[in-house]
Point group: C2
């Protein structure tokens, strides 16, 4: 028993080192995006490289395999056992790739994101194609190393972001979206019921927007005693642990852009702040999955933040901050404006209804790239065809088409589906929650705490102790069911359209 | 030769790991002081603890002693040889202390700085005395571990901050200050020629002060492509490497406070930015010593920044930013105001003339504490007596007396003298520089680059390749000579006083 105890203790000491390196890497990334001086990059990258090596050394270095084996033989409580399981997963993920291949890949990716930024500006996909081919080759090879016997490569990749959602599950999910939402989206956009939203753009002074976003983040429940908000080129959320969670936003002449982006990021942040103390700084101390994280951010942004009830107590604050711009705009007009549906080319600017159709395009293409050896050179054409078919618009160039996202340049394949899954998780949660809470009444009363507490107790606090699928099942009493998502969208946008006419 | 080469290479790999941990620690400290949320402290401290351990493990862990021995047998170029020497010094410094004693000391210091902050507020030295006694015991024991045969303990401590300046050297230096500056200071303050400076305090809006300090930092030569400026409770400078140097400032209703504090910090920053590329991220990639660092910050702040010539091109900018406050104040009046000499109790608020007398008090007391077993309980009385003798003022309580500085609570003994040494180094440099540059003409022309370049080529670029004493000798052609400092102060404050009457 003495020996058994000390194996887990020895593992904990290694994991503590890995956690420190990982947390430092997180702080460097945050700092690079928000503050670091222009010329710091190259030298700071050396520090980051050494910290990465320290992390890998702690997770996969000498003796780790034996330690994990010893731990698995021990009688451990549930949380330590789950930590051992996560450590073993991470070990497999890192250790199966020959170090020199991993290094070559890292170098390629460091270069490819720069190339991507360049060719995107030049709208020149052809120049990017050879790099993208190499990235895909690497990712297929790496997936091959990790694959269980008979497992498809794209399934291996999907598993990294969302356990329990392989191609079989996603074909069903995206098939439903294609069958139900593509025609519904066309119906809504052709109905001509497009509300006025011109007043959302204009002279919205940055200081006032800053006051607004700080107010809104706090209003939805982000705790500034355990978090901060800064500015970066692209909004994101990160965290050092559950008492240091960091959001960014950006300001433009569109007030709804900073507004909904901060509610979105606050959703991510509330998730991280809600993780149990006993999990933070362990391998279980983060959100269950990409999709579950996105479900929370989109729940706050769209399901709560773009609902009519949400604005009852808050809209006066907005009018007070921007009297010139909004005193003549009624709350109902504002709510309709922030729910305007429009065929668009850019995923990150998409409305709630068409958002998952952007993801559908990417899922279908990734599957073809990985499983059907689709030639990279054919991507722009297929991308444009699919956009035309599903969204009714065709990109005029690669920058607003296949080059718009950084994900592939970073080597992330299998990531996109989690964006759509997250939206669907959220709608299913809403359905489940309604049986216990009167959401609209709470929103109208300006009391979001029961909603937040519900999410915290069912989702946030568990960190990675359970998979997204398990959490969803335990919260809603049924397995993942995307029809709630379709119903939610049809009901909301059908009724918004009716009230417009 | 193969073997020889690989010992230094193996050392370099270890030092790279140590550098990464050290740089991460620097970033965490910066972040704690400037941004981190209030409740992050305890969990982030765990990360910092693990990074500290990683640093110590890299510098002193298994095999390090053998590696250093092997490196010392190799035929190395000058820089690698100096790096090996520094690594060996650091090894000795860390490895000679039994780990459990070091940990106990770290815990004590973590607690004692909190206790210090508390008792300072309560003006209660007695409550602090037992903690301070323990700290002194630890520091004497640690110095004992490091001491060469026959070396005095306080000399061991002094050596850590300023190589080549032991008690014998400092007795001479501080003796001169006591003999020359104490009477001169009294003469100046009694002469009644105290200029009006009331206009420096007032409604100086923070945004305007921010514009001013950014302008001034850039004006004196701080490179914002390789650096940033943020806000913290107490101004400081830190750096990740020579392309990422960070200053902080703070704002109050005293415009001269943020103004001269930013010139001071920019002086530190310019030093760090000027270190040669081949030294940065090595053990030689920092300033030569505490005193040499302070010489640069005080050179920019006082010798340049408080000179009459400096303000010829810049004062109009100040008037432009604060027309209400300064349009009726002539440049001459402004320069006299920022050089007002006053007996005061607080070191960090002292004028240029009396500053080193504050340090003199601390030097004499430290020496007695370490070498003459002065009882801690007698400190407040002796402190007050010395202030009365040298500065003509007596603290009414411990907060404005012996408890004003954090240094002792942090376990820093031997640090204070470098503040005064730095001022004296600067005056000697000025003397040397004048034989090659017409400083006043350059300042009046607003062209600081020859001055900066001179400092860079003689001091900054060398990092820690040479000691402060060597640098000074090579720059000025003579050994440290504090009479330049006395002459500089007598000349400047004598003449300021004459122009006033």
């Amino acid at each position: 028993m003495q020996n058994a105890d000390s194996a887990y203790e020895a593992l904990s000491a290694r994991l503590e080192r890995a956690m420190a390196a990982q947390t430092a890497l997180t702080l460097f990334e945050w700092d690079n995006e928000t503050l670091a001086p222009r010329q710091a990059g190259e030298l700071t990258a050396r520090v980051q490289g050494a910290l990465s090596t320290a992390y890998q050394e702690a997770m996969t270095g000498e003796g780790m395999k034996e330690l994990l084996d010893a731990c698995r033989k021990e009688k451990l409580d549930e949380i330590p056992a789950a930590i051992v399981r996560e450590a073993a997963d991470e070990y497999e993920r890192l250790a199966c790739i020959p170090p020199e291949e991993y290094r070559a890949f890292q170098e390629l990716v460091a270069k490819s994101t720069r190339v991507w930024a360049q060719v995107k500006q030049e709208q020149d996909f052809e120049q990017f194609a050879p790099t993208l081919e190499k990235i895909i080759d690497f990712q297929k090879r790496f997936a091959g190393y990790r694959a269980k016997p008979g497992q498809k490569l794209y399934d291996v990749m999907l598993d990294e972001y969302e356990k329990g959602f392989d191609m079989e599950a996603l074909d069903g999910f995206f098939g439903l979206l294609r069958d139900e939402l593509v025609p519904f989206f066309k119906e809504v956009t052709r109905s001509g019921c497009q509300p006025e939203n011109g007043f959302l753009r204009g002279d919205y002074p940055e200081e006032k927007q800053q006051e607004l976003v700080e107010y809104m983040a706090e209003y939805v429940g982000f705790d500034f005693e355990r978090g901060v908000l800064a500015v970066s080129a692209h909004p994101f959320t990160t965290n050092l642990h559950n008492r240091d969670v960091r959001l960014t936003t950006h300001y433009s002449d569109r007030v709804d852009s900073s507004l909904f982006s901060v509610i979105h990021e606050a959703g991510h942040g509330i998730y991280e702040q809600g993780i149990d103390d006993e999990l933070t700084q362990t391998l279980l101390g983060q959100g269950a999955s990409m999709g579950m994280h996105e479900s929370q951010s989109r729940f706050f942004e769209n399901i709560l933040g773009r609902s009519a009830a949400f604005w009852v107590p808050v809209y006066p604050k907005l009018q007070e901050l921007f009297p010139q711009q909004l005193s003549g705009v009624s709350r109902e007009e504002f709510v309709r404006a922030v729910n305007r549906v429009e065929p668009g080319l850019i995923r990150t600017e998409a409305d709630e209804l068409s958002y998952s159709l952007h993801v559908l395009v990417r899922y279908e293409l990734e599957k073809q790239l990985i499983e059907e050896n689709l030639e990279v050179s054919r991507l722009p054409q297929l991308w444009a065809d699919k956009y035309e078919e599903y969204l009714g618009v065709r990109p005029a160039n690669a920058a607003e088409g296949v080059l718009q996202d950084i994900h592939w340049a970073q080597g992330s394949f299998g990531y996109f589906p989690s964006y759509a899954l997250g939206s669907a998780f959220g709608a299913q949660m809403l359905h489940g929650m309604r049986s216990e809470l009167d959401i609209d009444a709470l929103l109208e009363a300006g009391d979001l705490s029961p909603i937040r507490e519900y999410l915290r107790s069912h989702i946030h606090r568990w960190g990675k102790r359970k998979t997204s699928r398990e959490l969803l099942r335990e919260m809603t009493g049924e397995d993942f069911n995307p029809s709630y998502y379709v119903e939610y969208l049809k009901e909301k946008y059908g009724s918004l359209c009716r009230t417009r006419s």
